[in-house]
Point group: C2
Chain length 244, copies 2
Amino acid sequence: MSAVDKAFHGLRHMIATGRLGAGERIPPEAELGEELGVSRGSLREAVRMLAALGVVEPRHGSGTYVSQLRPEDIIGSLSLTLELLPLPGLLEVYEIRRVLEAHVAAKAAARRTPETVRTLFSLIEAMEATDDPAEASELDHRFHAEIARAAENPTLASLLAVFRARSRKYQVFTLPEGPELRRKSDADHRVLATAIADRDPGSAAGAAEAHVTQTERWLRAFMPPVEEGAQGREKGGEADGALS
Amino acid sequence: MSAVDKAFHGLRHMIATGRLGAGERIPPEAELGEELGVSRGSLREAVRMLAALGVVEPRHGSGTYVSQLRPEDIIGSLSLTLELLPLPGLLEVYEIRRVLEAHVAAKAAARRTPETVRTLFSLIEAMEATDDPAEASELDHRFHAEIARAAENPTLASLLAVFRARSRKYQVFTLPEGPELRRKSDADHRVLATAIADRDPGSAAGAAEAHVTQTERWLRAFMPPVEEGAQGREKGGEADGALS
DNA sequence: CGGCCAGGATTCATCTGATGACTTTCCCTT
DNA sequence: AAGGGAAAGTCATCAGATGAATCCTGGCCG
């Protein structure tokens, strides 16, 4: 086993067995490196791996701390790389989104509070009022995040947040057809929010699924089709510079 | 921005824009480090981060290569850390599994081939024949993976595979009640496989959801309850040495 | 007595240089 | 032409030194 692997698995094992608890500071590099039998450089590479995976967080001058190990910490690591997924994979993500958004919508409808309903409709009004595509995208994200929050499953909420972030990168609202798409999207949101306000899980699930399906259809229609046998590799046309 | 961040984002951008394609070898450390304006050490830390996330793969003596960027490459990175998730988070994962397993079961029922049905029943027979809990767990995994495969969504299949791997770490079949639980599990499998063989998506979804719910119930019943306000931190009892 | 501040100690961040291990390539020998 | 071995290329690892950010301690001042 390589030195970095030894440090990586050793450190992970210390966390898994509770020797290093959530939020705790791990020993200094020199000390831990000696204990694990690797140099500081190799240990640092292992720590960086765990940091990329959301397990630890180094703080300059202070120390390196184990994260809270909450679902969002672990799942959030996907957001760094999910945008590298080629288009065919993205369409598969949409199928997952469709199922899960329908589920959280139904659950939110069953568990909604008056505050949730108020928040949803105020976000809808803000969405309908703005002309800025970027702001509309941000409000759209918060609208769906609010529904996921109401479903009371943080793991599921963060998973959907990661998936949505991937979709947002394509910025369909900035297309020439953007305003038209946004009007349709706003209408979808009102149907969905109304179903939740009415405590109607079935309608909410249907509305959420239809909304995701609609978004997926736009993506298929307006995005460059993938050439056959091209190993799923994207060309350089990623609309990346505007927001990231 | 720190040197490692500069290298990490720079390298990721080179991949996102297609300057480095899937499967391609990236420039040598010395050359790439100079281009990105960081030392070899910092570049290596950034490369390790991307490796942990499934984006690149260093090969000793040969070079560092961009992965195929398939969904399983990206999602598979979760398997390294999902086992660190405390128990409360795991129960939230079960809710996601329940929804998604039901979906893939329904889809598999709609799209099944004779080969799929044959494979499922042969796995069931092997499961019923063995006495080894570890082998039973492995066959159980392959049974569900086959259903996910039949649903023709590799991203979803790998996501479910990661979730199942986390659950398997608890090894309920090795408990004193194991044999009894396995008989119930085997019966569930027959119901599910029969529904798929009958091309009955509704029954398949119901059977899959019931099966996951049953597993979750076992976990709640037999695993140590979490003490209130304990920040979800696990004690050292993880049954880790047997299989990993 | 309490708060503030300066300086030292601690810790991570980065760079440089050197050596070893592994893979690939290519040329020489048979 | 095939096989073997040397050489180049590349990642892996270690050691040492310096910089930067934070934390802590002790003394000073109000």
